[in-house]
């Protein structure tokens, strides 16, 4: 154990020290060796070079290469045009994955945003506000794998004649029902997985929306009350319209996250019993079937789905820069 600890420490020191030494060395070199006029032109690129290098090596080049590989066969030897894409679009399992992903998108986004908003508005009215908010936000710190273990235990199934140790089936049995195989029954297993994601993401939505709700000026709410609006009307007619832009940002964020959902499905069901999603399918094509062409094609489909968000982000950024 001690040797392992030392190895870890050494690895950490080398990793962290290396990068800091790099910058100091490069800067020293430029300061020493270049005339001051050239310095001003070279120095920005020295500061940028490491970032540009890793961005190119890990994001830009691989993205371009993946698009390229997606037009080739399994082992990337023969150019096959759009065969991979056509195969995927006619593949039943892939359609199941698309269908499930849409179900995930609609339910996770819908439920966690609306529940997050309701909790934010309710908690705003009580004195012990931080307690429920902390408890609901806490799952954000837990990894998808950790959350999956937590919920596998909640969903644990045992035959009817043995004591249930999963809390959900224990409740079902005590209410007089048969125990349910939450993760194997095809009618419900997708919902069981989606519930985990809602459990993880509601806190995030709540925190963002709560900040927006608190940003609404008190006198606007007061004016609405003076005009005789009740709390429900205020919620729908005042609060919602005033936090619309935050709602859009939160929903977009959750959508991007859910589009790429992988860990939960991988740990809980490995995509069996009709629970496949796009990202879990990609890992299967890549590792289990060793089909790099189709794996890449799935990744490209994911990217295409995200491009609208990318364009919106860039547009918003340019507006922001124009007003700076």
């Amino acid at each position: 154990m001690l040797a392992q600890g030392l190895r870890a420490l050494l690895a950490i020191l080398i990793g962290c020290g290396g990068v800091i030494g790099l910058f100091y060395g490069a800067n020293l070199l430029v300061e020493r060796w270049f005339p001051s006029r050239a310095k001003g032109r070279i120095l920005p690129w020295i500061y940028l070079a490491p970032a540009a290098l890793v961005l190119t090596a890990y994001l830009v080049l691989p993205t371009v290469l993946t698009v390229y590989i997606s037009f080739f066969d399994k082992r990337s030897q023969n150019f096959v045009w759009f065969t991979n894409y056509l195969d995927l679009l006619t593949d039943n399992v892939m359609w199941e994955a698309f269908r499930n992903n849409i179900l995930w998108l609609v339910l996770v986004t819908g439920v966690s945003v609306s529940l997050g908003l309701v909790i934010a508005v309710l908690a705003d009215r009580v004195r012990y506000e931080p307690i429920p908010k902390t408890l609901i936000f806490l799952p954000m710190a837990i990894s998808f794998v950790g959350a999956s273990v937590i919920w596998r235990f909640v969903y644990d199934y045992r035959p009817a004649d043995v004591a249930q140790i999963g809390i959900l089936n224990a409740m079902a049995v005590s209410l007089g029902f048969e125990p349910v195989g939450w993760l194997v029954e095809r009618a419900i297993n997708n919902f069981a997985l989606i519930a985990i994601m809602i459990w993880l993401q509601t806190g995030f939505c709540m925190v963002l929306l709560s900040a927006a709700v608190k940003g609404i000026p008190e006198d606007i709410l007061e004016a609405a009350r003076m005009d005789g609006a009740n709390e429900v009307q205020i919620f729908w007619r005042v609060i919602i319209p005033m936090i619309r832009s935050t709602l859009v940002v939160v929903a977009t964020t959750v959508i991007i996250l859910v589009l790429k959902v992988f860990d939960i499905v991988f740990v809980m069901t490995a995509g069996n019993q009709g629970t496949e999603v796009i990202a879990s399918r990609m890992i299967k094509e890549m590792f289990n079937f060793r089909d790099y062409g189709r794996g890449s094609a799935i990744a490209v489909i994911l990217l295409i789905a995200i491009i609208p968000v990318m364009v919106t982000n860039i547009r918003r950024f340019r507006e922001q820069e124009a007003t700076r």
Binding site: L122, G146, V149, R152
Partner: protein
């Protein structure tokens, strides 16, 4: 961030009957909040309690039976933790996670801060375009990069090494780091930086003596976000470290444990808690930075 006074809904504390009627009016709100909090917390409590119970008890009856004798601590034990840390290799995985996560946080911070300073305060052609590229890369799904990078790693013999994961996380965390830090550094007062440069301070001096200390809140937010992201990551570890168990981090180890010991709940619950203890500590200790980093970083690819 999670606690914000002043409160809405009351001006001065009501008295007597008025107070009772207000309580009654708000009763549905209280009930709803307590119910939701309970539903959200029960699964984690179940995990924690089960991880402390002996094997036979965990597998024989539900964890809630402990609550019948809440002060009988003899029904609890630490033996599951000992087993999972030593025999099941979770201790090694814990060290691996630290070895992966610390450099994979420090390296991107250093690189991103330098780049952010250059993008915010140095003049050179193409500055705007580089930053637009960074904004675009922010949401690129990591899945787009796995196959080419893995192939390059295999060709270089780097698959299954710590260096491979450090660099991968550095690349994947870079757009967010640059975006976050450049926005923060760019909003520092112009006079301050110009005054320093008129006084003859070099860029490196301005950077280390002025920019870094002033940007600490943003750096801390990014650090917390990146550390937790790396610690909780399964996908990157699976792709680049998948075949080599002696470098596997806690998430990967726990996933394998679910596969090999799927019904041994006494071990799974303890293992899950071992994997969660660091993020939970960070959550409670650095909540402010945690929330800020999370909000800023939620769009990561």
């Amino acid at each position: 961030m999670l606690s914000t006074s002043p409160k809405r809904g009351y001006r001065q504390p009501p008295k007597g009957l008025a107070r009772f009627s207000e309580l009654l009016q708000k009763l549905p709100v209280h009930v709803a909040l307590v119910a939701i909090s309970l539903i959200w917390t029960l699964p984690s409590i179940g995990l924690l309690i089960s991880s402390l119970r002996p094997k036979e008890a965990v597998l024989d009856n539900g964890w809630w039976t402990v609550l019948q004798h809440p002060f009988d601590f003899t029904q609890l034990t630490l033996v599951n933790y000992l087993d999972v840390l030593t025999a099941e290799g979770m201790g090694q995985a814990f060290l691996n996670s630290l070895t992966v996560a610390i450099p994979a946080t420090v390296i991107p911070i250093a690189i991103a801060t330098f780049a952010a300073y250059a993008l915010a305060w140095m003049n050179f052609p193409g500055r705007q375009w580089i930053f637009i590229t960074v904004v675009a890369l922010l949401v690129v799904p990591l899945q787009m990069t796995f196959i080419p990078v893995l192939r390059a790693y295999s060709a270089l013999g780097m698959a299954g090494t710590f260096l491979a994961v450090w660099l991968a996380h550095t690349g994947y965390g870079m757009p967010l780091g640059i975006y976050l830090l450049r926005n923060y550094i760019g909003s520092l007062p112009r006079d301050l930086i110009e005054a320093a440069s008129v006084d003859g301070a070099s860029h490196l001096k301005i950077f280390t003596k002025l920019i870094v200390p002033l940007s600490m809140p943003a750096i801390a937010s990014f650090a917390v976000f990146q550390f937790l992201w790396v610690w909780n990551d399964l996908l990157v570890a699976l792709v680049y470290l998948g075949g080599t168990p002696d470098v596997a981090p806690v998430t990967l180890k726990l996933t394998n444990l679910v596969g090999s010991r799927g019904q041994d709940w006494h071990l799974l619950t303890a293992g899950a808690f071992v994997s969660m203890v660091v993020p939970l500590g960070v959550f409670f200790a650095l909540q402010r930075y945690f929330v800020r980093g999370l909000l800023a970083g939620s769009v990561k690819g």
